[in-house]
């Protein structure tokens, strides 16, 4: 559609993915993963797949982030390596 918008979204998408991979704090990684999900949902909507984007925003940004946070609080918080 608008290729400038998609380039900006892809740049932030790669940034969020790198932060989620390289972060030491697990909560930071989970929040960055939610940002990744929302950005990919925006990309799907920009490409015309509104239904896929809706599913990605609801599941990836909403519920899976909460489940990850609950799992982190049930285990020890920081990684030891």
């Amino acid at each position: 559609m608008h290729w400038e918008l998609e380039v900006v979204l892809f740049v932030f998408l790669v940034g969020a993915a790198l932060v989620a991979l390289e972060s030491r704090n697990l909560l930071t990684a989970v929040v960055s993963l939610s940002v990744f999900s929302f950005l990919s949902a925006l990309l799907y909507a920009a490409m015309g797949a509104v239904d896929v984007g809706f599913t990605e925003a609801v599941v990836g940004g909403g519920v899976s982030g909460i489940l990850f946070v609950v799992t982190i609080f049930r285990t020890s918080r920081k990684s030891k390596d």
């Binding site: 239904d51 809706f54 599913t55 609801v58 599941v59 909403g62 609950v70």
Partner: protein
């Protein structure tokens, strides 16, 4: 969640926002064959509204809204609605999930409309029950959440 303070603003805002999320989720389910959305997205939003109250007010207080023992039966009921719609159409002479053979009045396009509606209600119930049950099972054994 772990260090939960009884914050009035968080509790009030989450309890106010949760019914609006549920209304929009019901719109997504029941309008899903005309617009983007459907049973899976609507069920996930219903589960998100329930989990929001559980996060803000604590699981013990949220038992008044949606008890812990309802998750798995509601999920099973949703699967049963899905399977029953397909099986009734198979009993009435068609293939499994062939909505044109459903025993309702009206022309066949009306049958398909109603059949898809039944299917999406079943999928929404199943997803809502199972996601809430997953959240409750993750927090199982922790006394003060």
């Amino acid at each position: 969640m772990m260090r939960r303070d009884d914050d009035a603003i968080i509790s009030l805002v989450s309890r106010t926002v949760s019914p609006f999320i549920m209304i929009f989720a019901l719109y997504v389910i029941f309008h899903g064959h005309y617009s983007p959305g459907g049973g899976f997205q609507g069920g996930t939003m219903l589960a998100a509204a329930l989990i929001l109250v559980r996060l803000a007010a604590g699981s013990d207080l949220a038992q008044l809204q949606f008890p812990r023992s309802w998750g798995t039966p509601l999920g099973s009921a949703g699967v049963l609605i899905y399977w029953g719609t397909g099986f009734v159409s198979m009993l009435c002479g068609g293939n499994f999930l062939n909505y044109a053979f459903l025993p309702v009045s009206g022309p066949p396009p009306h049958h398909r409309n109603l059949g898809i509606l039944f299917i999406e209600v079943g999928v929404g119930l199943a997803v809502m029950g199972i996601l809430t049950a997953i959240y409750d099972d993750l927090l199982e054994g922790r006394p003060h959440d």
